[in-house]
């Protein structure tokens, strides 16, 4: 018997409730004190097609999914066909007995067919065939001998907590029936079990977009504007849902150009502002990004990547836009690029992005992707330290126009919006006070903010240097977040950035347990960096293998461009599927042969 270490996969057509059932089951398992990692895969269609949801369970925190599956819940025949090969020997395939499934071929693969009268139970016990999903999840619980009360709790939460809520009660009757029936029939054949951890704390089940949302709220962002685009939409939606409570202005604009410009306008007035999008929308924002750079306006852009080019694979994942984000926009202007790798990092670095933006008065791009945005993990509540974020808020050289005394004092000798200073940062007083009346421009401008109609070389040099030198200070004072994981004296270092964190970290554990000496070097901070320091870090590594979710190993190129160091090999994945520990381990063996 294997306790609390398995993967359960649900599959079916869009509209069959694969995701909601998966989420519900994951929540129930997390509430039992177990750690979960949930990843989904769906097609760009509302009905039909094929979607799946995969939940990995363990007693330790999980950072990625794995490829082997132990129990498959098939809502349709295609799921059995497509995913049986992923099951380990002795794995179970649970499905409604109305589906046409070739049991003998499953048995021939050493799998256990587990037909169940799910539809019948839903109809006869619950009086509604829609309750089939409840029956399926409860049956899975029965097969794993998982305490059904956790599933019941989630049902109550979803259908009404009040005792005597008709629908909840009927669902619970269905659940009990399916649970008992499945347990009787199959529990004794199935090796993997789920057992609650007594006294475990209640953990949050949360995905990357939600963590970004919490970071946005914690940072005091007040203006959110954007245009829906997968996988960024759920962030916009989450914040729209919190707008009334937290006094946010959330706008769905006519396009992404307007989305970022709303933010620049709001930030010009002294409000923290954020827009979120994916590659296509970011492409539309590019000209305005340059405007933010020129006018030194702090805005935060979340770039939730998906594979391109063009509409690419709209519901899949990839890390293809790194070099684009680094170089997007005509002309040269300062910006920062951050790429959190975990749920916790999404939270903290999102909040940090607003500080960097305001301190250096420049745009900050926070990069995630579909994998990080939508994968769920169970995380300790304490991991989200709102008080620490509140203490860390740094608005830089900002005085708001209604802060009468401060403005009066600061403007005693006049006010110039783009005053030339040693570190390039000028006092920012948003419009509204009689002592700070000024105009700004996307055209090259004077320290006063007026357009320099003569386009003089002298003024140009002063202003370019002023803006660009902010990066030097930023790299020194505020950037440089990277992390090693694994043995210090590793023979191989897996170099990665952003969402690859989880899969690479888990790969390191797998590889080391197989007798290799491998560690991970992960970067959250991409730009600006103190490159000499990064070069020294790389010099401490032996064989360096870049692991990235794109074709050309973009981060590795960025490093080479800035440090002259070149990783010894690369592992890339660009098929739209997330990196995972098994894939990385297998590819590493091939990569090392080539070194």
């Amino acid at each position: 018997m294997v306790k609390n270490n398995c993967t359960i996969k649900l599959g079916g057509e869009a509209g069959q409730g694969v995701e909601s059932s998966g989420m519900g089951f994951a929540k129930a398992i997390a509430r039992a004190g177990l750690y979960i990692f949930g990843v989904q895969d769906y097609m760009s269609r509302i009905r039909g097609g094929h979607n799946w949801y995969q939940i990995r369970v363990h007693t330790r925190p999980l950072y990625a999914h794995e490829t082997s599956v132990h129990l498959l819940l098939a809502f349709d025949e295609r799921t059995v066909h497509d995913h049986s090969a992923e099951l380990v020997k002795g794995g179970g395939v649970l499905y409604d007995d109305g589906l046409k499934v070739d049991q003998s071929s499953l048995s021939a693969m050493d799998l256990i067919p587990m037909p169940m009268p799910l539809l019948k139970i839903a109809e006869e016990v619950g009086g509604n065939k829609l309750m089939m999903n409840t029956a399926a999840v409860a049956a899975a619980a029965g097969i794993c001998e998982f305490d059904l009360s956790y599933v019941e709790q989630v049902i109550r939460d979803n259908f009404g907590r009040r005792k005597g809520s008709e629908i909840a009660d009927r669902n619970i009757r269905v659940a009990n029936h399916a649970y008992e029936e499945a347990r009787k029939r199959y529990a004794h054949l199935f090796e993997w079990k789920l057992e609650p951890i007594p006294g475990a704390p209640r953990r949050m089940v949360i995905n990357g977009n939600q963590a970004l949302g919490l970071g946005t709220l914690a940072a005091g962002c007040k203006m959110v504007s954007g245009y829906p685009m997968t996988p960024a939409s759920t962030l916009l939606e989450f914040l729209a849902g919190q707008a009334r409570k937290f006094g946010l202005v959330v706008r769905q604009t006519e396009d992404e150009i307007s989305g970022i410009l709303h933010c620049i306008g709001a930030a010009h007035a002294g409000v923290r502002a954020m827009s979120c999008t994916s590659g296509g929308g970011f492409s539309l924002m590019v000209e305005s990004l340059s405007l933010a750079g020129s006018t030194e306006t702090p805005v935060v852009i979340v770039l939730a990547q998906r594979p391109g080019p063009a509409t690419g694979l709209p519901t899949r994942t990839g890390q293809e836009d790194l070099l684009f984000a680094l170089h997007a926009g005509h002309g040269e202007f300062p910006r920062a690029v951050l790429a959190p790798g975990t749920i916790e990092q999404c939270f903290y670095h999102m909040a940090r992005a607003f500080n960097i933006a305001e301190k250096y008065q420049m745009p900050v791009i926070v990069m995630t992707d579909n994998f990080l945005a939508n994968s769920i993990r169970s995380v300790e509540k304490e991991a989200f330290d709102f008080a620490a974020i509140a203490r860390s808020i740094d608005r830089g050289a900002l005085i708001l126009p209604h802060e009468e005394d401060k403005v009066t004092q600061a403007t005693a000798e006049g006010y110039r919006r783009y005053e030339l200073t040693e570190n390039g940062i000028s006092l920012r007083i948003p419009p509204g006070h009689p002592n700070a009346v000024y105009s700004v421009a996307g055209e090259e401008h004077t320290p006063e903010g007026f357009i320099d109609w003569e386009e003089t070389a002298h003024n140009r040099n002063l202003m370019m240097n002023k803006r660009m030198k902010k990066l030097t200070l930023c790299a020194e004072e505020d950037m440089g977040v990277y992390e090693f994981y694994g043995p210090e004296d590793a023979e191989t270092t897996l170099l990665c950035w952003g969402s690859s964190y989880g899969p690479v970290r888990e790969a390191v554990d797998v590889l080391n347990s197989n007798g290799m000496r491998v560690n991970m070097l992960h970067f959250v901070d991409i730009h600006p960096l103190h490159w000499d320091a990064v070069g020294e870090v790389l010099d401490r590594c032996h064989t360096v293998v870049a692991v990235e979710g794109n074709f050309s190993a973009q981060f590795s190129r960025w490093l080479t461009m800035n440090t002259g160091r070149r990783p010894d090999a690369k592992i890339t994945r660009f098929d739209g599927r997330p990196l995972n520990p098994d894939f990385i381990a297998a590819e590493l063996h091939k990569a090392l042969i080539r070194v």
Partner: protein
């Protein structure tokens, strides 16, 4: 920050000299904008002008007030973001026909259905001035320019009709050759609670040799001089919007004071302007969010 009792042209004088061609219609618009501020006793720090890119879009630097010279076609969304963050500021967009009727046309359609309290002055010279004379969305059919050597084959945009159709709550047209009348329209637009479009006939004396001061003077007449014209009547306004030729109406085509503004409908703005609100939210309130996820 009380408004000064009197405001003079001198108070609105910018240190920057206009670079417009002598005789350009944009001078009349600049003059009218200043007059409107004086008429409304609007001190410079309580107004912000957002402009695009073009000859007329240079205006913010030429009046002592807050300004933001942005990108070609983009001042409209920029102004909306600002307005939502600082809604006790007078927010004015001044841009070209290329800006809002061309490259930024989508933004223009959408600001009209949202009705934020923003005044929008479009410098309609029916040509692209700054880029040296190509045809504009408002150029009349057959207009000969460097990019239409045989005359345009497109029909011009009708800004007044589009604004009426899109739900604009204040739709007017002025003529820069009559800055007093124009100032009055701009002042009315600024006082209007909601989006106000003021399309302005603005002769480009260098590139547009068709729609000259004389051409306009021979044709324009004021709607307020039309006996019985009521700008609350949408059907009448629609009819007047299509009058073009021997006689061309200027003045207030349409006004509707009933439609709520965008700002009024946003709960976060009910108490005080966004920029004045304390951040971050109370930690206890944030902590409460965790319950969504357990």
């Amino acid at each position: 920050m009380a408004a000064p009792v009197t405001l003079t042209m001198k108070d609105l004088q910018s240190p920057v000299e206009p670079t417009w061609c002598p005789g350009c219609g944009d001078f009349g618009i600049l003059n009218a904008v200043k007059r409107a501020m004086i008429q409304l006793k609007l001190p410079p720090h309580q107004v912000i002008y957002f402009s695009g890119i073009g000859c007329g879009s240079k205006l913010p630097d030429y009046v002592r007030a807050n300004g933001f010279n942005s990108l070609h076609g983009r001042p409209v969304p920029l102004a909306q973001g600002f307005r939502l963050a600082h809604h006790d500021m007078k927010v004015v967009v001044v841009d070209g026909d290329g800006d809002s009727y061309g490259i930024g046309g989508n933004h223009w359609l959408h600001i009209m259905r949202r009705n934020p309290d923003i005044t929008h002055i479009v410098q309609d010279n029916m040509v692209y001035g700054l880029t040296k004379g190509q045809y504009a969305p408002t150029s009349m059919k057959g207009y000969v320019s460097t990019t239409s050597p045989e005359g345009t084959i497109e029909y011009p945009v009708n800004p007044i009709a589009i604004a009426l159709a899109a739900g604009a709550t204040f739709v007017a047209r002025g003529f820069s050759g009559d800055p007093k009348h124009l100032a009055d329209l701009i002042a009315k637009g600024m006082e209007h609670k909601g989006y106000a479009l003021i399309d302005v006939f603005q002769p480009c004396v260098i590139f547009n040799r068709v729609n000259t001061y004389d051409w306009f003077r021979e044709r324009v007449y004021k709607l307020e001089d039309e006996p019985g014209y009521d700008p609350h009547d949408l059907n009448k306004a629609w009819e007047k919007a299509h009058e073009w030729g021997e006689r061309i109406p200027i003045g207030l085509f349409y006004v509707n004071e009933e439609t709520p503004t965008l700002e009024e409908q946003i709960p976060a703005l009910a108490q005080k302007p966004l920029y004045q609100q304390d951040i971050p939210p109370p930690v206890e309130m944030l902590e409460g969010l965790k319950e969504i996820f357990v």
